[in-house]
């Protein structure tokens, strides 16, 4: 080995830290938060409470699995909130008229996948950017769901067979959490073990090169949006079941919570890097944070500030680490080390 190679090796070990943080950072934070909360937050250790926290993490979680895949590929979907509302509403309509839970699941998921397909087609075949397509789509779908519901009256349905999905437990473990974990495993499998997953990473890291390397870029993008639809549909079904009801005004701002959870989980907004484990951890962290703040009887206004601050802090850690690092070894710009000196440009659409 030459000196340069040794240096490269040493460097890659060093560089491991940012990858470590990216992969396990939030998971560690969640663990620490749980340990501290277990001992110091009154009522947290109550099993009902802890089970409620993990149940709560699942509703954003399932959709976040799909969004993780989208963001790794360098796109993202702002229409998941509206899609969630429309598909949950239609699912409730179906189940309350036909009393068939299976049919409700099918309708909920298929509607969401159909919207995903339309997004995918608009992005690839017409060539509008993902940001604009899904933003426009969110307006359209939101409008549609009000029109279909003729003004927004929610549908209610509370048969046991239906509400079990959102409220039931298996061996005390909440069903939504089990489904979330299954979704996460499926997402992990798709990303890590299938050619499709490899394509997702390739497109995210360098779309042009992926195309040159023979990746079917268009087909993959369309599939990504269908998959986002699939997981959003699962979330929609679970939320509908959890609430015994759904209306077209369901969960405003859902898309931003989902994106925030994915990014908090260490997935890079610019694409190419990210992990499902991080997404699981981030969803748990969100649910835990909300729970702890409630258990500590934090003021509602302060809660908002706290949640924003914690999100910001968690996302600053890598930047702060880099800065400390640079300070200690004088100044290093990203020129030779990192491919994209566009690190802080962010907001890629």
């Amino acid at each position: 080995m030459t000196v340069a190679e040794k240096q490269i090796k040493k460097f890659s070990v060093k560089l491991g830290w940012d990858l470590l943080w990216e992969r396990y950072g939030i998971a560690t934070v969640v663990l620490i938060a749980w340990v501290i909360a277990f001992f110091f937050v009154p009522n947290f250790r109550n099993p009902d409470n802890m089970l409620n926290v993990i149940r709560q993490s699942a509703f954003v979680g399932c959709a976040a699995v799909g969004m993780t895949i989208a963001i790794i590929s360098g796109t993202f979907d702002l229409s998941v909130g509206s899609t969630l509302a429309l598909s949950a509403y239609l699912g409730l309509m179906v189940v309350s008229t036909t009393e068939s839970v299976l049919l409700a699941i099918l309708v909920t998921v298929l509607v969401a996948m159909l919207i995903g397909l339309i997004n995918g087609l608009l992005i690839t075949k017409v060539g509008i950017s993902a940001f604009i397509t899904t933003l426009g789509m969110s307006f359209i779908v939101r409008g549609l769901s009000y029109i279909i519901s003729k003004g927004g009256e929610p549908v209610r349905y509370n048969a046991k067979a239906f509400i079990w999905w959102g409220n039931g437990s298996f061996l005390r473990i909440p069903i939504p959490f089990i489904i979330f974990i299954i979704c996460a495993l499926a997402g992990w499998f798709i990303l890590k073990k299938t050619p499709f997953g490899r394509y997702v990473f390739s497109i995210g890291t360098n779309e042009k090169a992926a195309k040159v390397a023979g990746v079917p870029v268009q087909r993959t993008i369309i599939f990504i949006f269908i998959i986002v639809g699939l997981f959003t549909g699962i979330s929609a079904f679970l939320i509908g079941s959890r609430l015994y009801s759904a209306g077209p005004g369901l969960e405003p701002g859902f898309e931003l919570s989902v994106i925030a959870a994915v990014v908090l989980g260490g997935t890079r907004l610019a694409g190419g890097r990210g992990s499902i484990l991080g997404t699981i951890a981030a969803c748990l962290l969100y649910a835990t944070m909300g729970n702890i703040l409630n258990l500590l009887h934090a003021d509602a206004f302060v809660q908002r500030v706290a949640v924003g601050m914690i999100l910001l802090l968690a996302l600053s850690i890598e930047g702060i680490r880099q800065r400390i690092f640079e300070h200690s070894s004088r100044r290093i710009t990203t020129l030779e080390i990192e491919p994209n000196s566009n690190e802080y440009q962010g907001g890629q659409a």
């Binding site: 990473f201 992926a210 080390i337």
Partner: protein, 497 residues
């Protein structure tokens, strides 16, 4: 020639720089006299770029100091360096595609009047600079509408636009044609005669010997030699760079088999008209020409990256249609792109994943990837191509340019292609890796592969190709085989209108 008594305009003393875990420069001394052209050569990773970045104010050294006009100086940022009269032409494109040529030339130094940007003056000054460089570009055009070569020239124009004392050029000729290179070298010389000092960084020793007064060789962050150009030979320099001697030569005897790929009347972009060729097994066919001659478009069209119309395209005698890279790969046609960073690398992925991306669908069982197969195949090619990496799970980003290029080559080989399209296969690759790539191509062709090679380095054709077709403005101006392939004959065809 350099006058020893001439004042030292830029001195570097005991320069050391650490990257996290790497010592990129170790106690390097370097000086630059007024009016001198000082070439800085070395393999990739030898520390040239680090040194340039320090001189440009992009990096701050861990220790050591810069001396400008006799007084020690530190640069906190690129502006400081600019103010000290240092102008740097970086290797990578440093242009803003949406802005005009003039703006790119004067970025951050825009002429102003009453605090407002003086567009008229800026355009005038830009035309002056371009005229001085004999570059025929309208300064008001946006950069995105220029060809690669024109962009490179704009980049150079920017470096020369100011009355800098010191100009640093990092691989300025990478995208230029021979003619443009000659033009550039003569400009560099005339600048030196006017008293400007130049640090000239290049892989191309031929150029270095054409212009340089002195040559400094770096290896592994250490200065190996600094000599007057007249006192050393090309081989001495190569020896200093790689620590061993390299063998050059001509293309070995190629045993041609039957026709593999046959193209009749290929039309691309209304520019390439009715291009036809037959490619034999075991052949290296060179497609040459000056920048913008169209050779590159032919390759891209054959790989499905450009819209094209063709009367007949046959592979092993059967007709085929290629509409996108996937079609090409399915037909076992491989491609190594000229712009590695933009079109080749998947920077965040590992070496393994970079190699297997094209064949990943062949490695699956039901719908999942069989990890063992992938591991085995990638390891085979990493060993075969002698890719130097700590592990195949290492991110490709952390490899040197030459090794990255080998990974991209390995990707095509893993696809088990019969026809390989190579576009500038050794651009930005150091001398050692270059020789490895050449001998690799030899062995591939020996084992029955057919290669189409497009390059702007004419030497490469002499070394590799047994047949060359030379393009000029979209048309084949002539075909050369065997001993006919000389720089003079190729140049003559390339410049024919």
């Amino acid at each position: 020639m350099i006058d020893e008594n001439n004042e030292i305009i830029l001195g570097v003393q005991g320069l050391t720089h650490h990257f996290p875990g790497i010592v990129a420069l170790k106690n390097v001394n370097f000086d630059l006299h007024k009016g001198e052209i000082h070439a800085l050569v070395g393999e990739n990773g030898a520390g040239k770029s680090t040194m340039i970045n320090i001189i440009a104010g992009v990096l701050q050294p861990s220790s050591g100091r810069l001396i400008i006009n006799g007084s020690p100086t530190t640069f906190q940022n690129p502006s400081d360096a600019q103010q000290a009269g240092i102008s740097v032409i970086f290797q990578e494109f440093n242009l803003v595609p949406q802005l005009s040529v003039a703006e790119n030339i004067f970025i951050n130094r825009e002429p102003t009047r009453f605090g407002m940007i003086d567009w008229k003056k800026m355009n005038e000054k830009a035309s002056e600079v371009l005229k001085r460089l004999k570059i025929d570009i309208d300064p008001r055009l946006t950069v995105s509408s220029l060809s690669i070569a024109q962009q490179q020239l704009t980049e150079i124009a920017r470096g020369l636009a100011f009355n800098a004392q010191v100009i640093v050029m990092d691989e300025p000729t990478a995208a230029l044609s021979e003619r443009e290179i000659d033009q550039l070298l003569s400009i560099v010389k005339s600048l030196a005669n006017e008293g400007v000092s130049v640090i000239y960084v290049s892989h191309k020793l031929e150029e270095v010997f054409k212009v340089a007064d002195r040559i400094t060789v770096l290896r592994d962050g250490v200065r190996i030699i600094t000599k007057n150009a007249s006192e050393v030979s090309e081989d001495d320099v190569i020896f200093a760079m790689v620590g061993r001697a390299l063998i050059h030569g001509r293309c070995p005897e190629r045993k041609l088999g039957p026709v593999v790929l046959s193209v009749k009347n290929l039309n691309v972009d209304n520019f390439i008209k009715d291009f036809s060729m037959d490619l034999h097994q075991g052949e290296v066919l060179g497609l040459g020409g000056l920048m913008g001659s169209g050779a590159n478009r032919v390759i891209e069209a054959l790989f499905g990256l450009r819209d094209s119309y063709v009367d007949e395209l046959t592979l092993d005698g059967s007709a085929l249609a290629i509409n996108n890279p996937r079609d090409a790969i399915h037909s076992r046609i491989g491609y190594v792109p000229n712009d590695r960073k933009k079109d080749g690398l998947l920077p965040d992925l590992s070496v393994k994943h970079n190699i297997s991306i094209g064949i990943i669908e062949r490695l699956k069982k039901v719908f999942w990837i069989v990890a063992e197969n992938e591991q085995e195949i990638t390891e085979t090619y990493v060993n075969k191509l002698n890719v130097r990496c700590t592990s195949i799970n290492q991110r490709i980003l952390n490899l040197s340019g030459g090794n990255q290029q080998k990974v991209i080559l390995a990707r095509s080989l893993a696809e088990e292609c019969n026809v390989l399209l190579l576009s500038e296969p050794t651009r930005g690759v150091d001398v050692g890796a270059k020789a490895e790539i050449y001998s690799l191509i030899d062995s591939l062709v020996d084992s029955g592969m057919a290669v189409i090679l497009q390059s702007s380095e004419l030497n490469e054709f002499i070394r590799l190709a047994n047949r060359v077709m030379i393009f000029s403005s979209g048309q084949v101006k002539g075909e050369l085989t065997g001993d006919q392939i000389t720089e003079e004959s190729m140049m003559a065809l390339a410049t024919r209108v």
